[in-house]
Symmetry: C2
Subunit: 358 residues, 2 copies
Amino acid sequence: MKRISSRATSFDVAALAGVSQSAVSRAFTPGSSIAEEKRAKVLEAARKLNYVPNSIASSLTTKRTNIIALILGNMGNPFYVHVLHEFSRRLQALGRQVLIFTVDPGSESDEAILRALQYQIDGVILTAAQLSTRMTSLCHDRGIPIVLFNRYIPGSDASGVRCDNVGGGRLIAEAFLAAGAKSFAMITGDPKGTTSQDRVRGFVERLMEEGIRRSEIEEVGGQSSYDGAAQAALTLFGDRARPRPDALFGINDIMAMGAVDALRYRLGLKIPEDLMVAGFDDIPEARRAPYKLTTVRQPINQMVEQTLALMHLDEPDRPIERGIDMPLASRLIWRSTIPVPPAYRSDIADDAGMDESG
Amino acid sequence: MKRISSRATSFDVAALAGVSQSAVSRAFTPGSSIAEEKRAKVLEAARKLNYVPNSIASSLTTKRTNIIALILGNMGNPFYVHVLHEFSRRLQALGRQVLIFTVDPGSESDEAILRALQYQIDGVILTAAQLSTRMTSLCHDRGIPIVLFNRYIPGSDASGVRCDNVGGGRLIAEAFLAAGAKSFAMITGDPKGTTSQDRVRGFVERLMEEGIRRSEIEEVGGQSSYDGAAQAALTLFGDRARPRPDALFGINDIMAMGAVDALRYRLGLKIPEDLMVAGFDDIPEARRAPYKLTTVRQPINQMVEQTLALMHLDEPDRPIERGIDMPLASRLIWRSTIPVPPAYRSDIADDAGMDESG
DNA sequence: GCAATCATTGAATGCGCATTCACAGTCGCG
DNA sequence: CGCGACTGTGAATGCGCATTCAATGATTGC
């Protein structure tokens, strides 16, 4: 059995193939000037030696690692898992690698970004975490694009990609109103996050247009999780003495699901008969039989594409766009947690799941 | 506003601090020989220049990148999401970075491993994907440990970490029998995976000990997903003409959940009255109110620790253990999809969720 | 048929850092 | 008071590769 040298270098391959090291490098670099015959010889030698090019070494000279840092702030929310999956797929297809960092929901991402910078990453995608201006400029000074996913930071240099959360909130208010709701409640998430704020704002805004006062809309904040929302639902609806609102907006699907389960199984309420509920995101779980959640669909694939476009990985020298924020349109998915008013009958979700075009 | 040089190098820092480049390197290397006073001077200069050490460059000399490749074969199963999260947390705490690769469930991981090797990763963790012997030796020849998570490959040099799936399958058979079940069915997953095979084996083995013949145990394979299992459940139970088995084993929780929903909402069956169901894994979703799934808990944290131990990241020169496979004990979590027999009353899950000790 | 162009090629260089080596002080101990 | 044992230090080197540069032979155009 042939003893194979572990970690052969381009020089080893060059020696075996009887060519220069430059030639080996060229053989593995698409588009470089090398005779097809010679390239074949090099590849053959490389195969014999189990040679694997060292990307780390090459990135020393090229200044590109093809690594993208993905910072995840809330893996407990399936929405972000879905996002991770989508980014992973797309970036792999583009020949990029994904370096993962998980941080506690809503906490600072500074440490993670610092670590990422040490690895000379080509870009940063940030979900559900705070971003300091110091880190933003640290990245931008180095020509590293940083994109906020599903959030934006007012006044920040960092660009962001998100859907129209205000509009989405309005859609939900609209749906509740159309279904005849008169009194309203919300379970909100991270109060520092613009995502939650905007959804609330759109929702409230629309209701106020109908003459409902803000003070009449009950609100409870919770941990941005299934359990947090279940807890919040109990504090909102557990008190039998108070009149019960007849519509509940869960600020995202996973929280809406937590609320739905608490309402049904702990308080014995019927949805939508006793109470209508809506979520936001349209995660795959939202359409499962126990939930059939009426919700607003985020155009994940569009958002992912937009994010990649903002990073313009193919033109690394292009100056980074600062502070871009182009909200994408979202749309309402009618299912079963709000009675469907006649005018909307044709909109009922066929439930092919989250669709590709968004 | 001070114009900050982008990407200062250790030489820049050295110049500003009035020391040699070696000193800068030492200042950032814990445990190296440098006077505290000088280190402080270096760090001060580094701060002024926004210097971030280049891990890529340093790994060229140290031969360690502190990057671990994590190959995920089935992100649709929350179990693996949980696993990813756990690895991410642990590895970050150990000062390692996680490079993610997603591959289609059950497909070859060769391409992903090859990409990982280019980045000179320090180790590979593989979940729910196939592994060729060629890749195994490619890694091992380079001294890179590769650990299979939640599976093993008979005859492979790669070590694996998993729970006692055979024993877990037996626990479930046991539970069904204790609850008085007489006829049985299974929805199985990836037929190539030892995990599914072993669970089936233990389950069938235990039933056969009670005189039940293998041919009497109905089995349908499905896509290893919620939807795949829902589909499988309909083919198993949709035929009203045949006698209905009174116990169904879903090979993992996400599939059991898909089956439960299909049985309840499509076929109108009551669980556990008409039919008992069990899953496997004990994912966080399993304990939610609509499911309350009786299942076998995998000791995730133990498994993660075991995996890290097998990679002995702190002793990179230690030879790699080949073909290690030490199944960890699993245990049954009683919830509501199997009627709890009197003898087991004290075992009912308090449902604090997946616990830390496993 | 000859000069000008072009496609290939290898030697040399540098990317940013850790590490080795030799050397200058310091200290301890007899 | 003196010599070995240490500690701290900087110059020099090399990690594995891409790239530049100059040189070569091949090809084209006229």
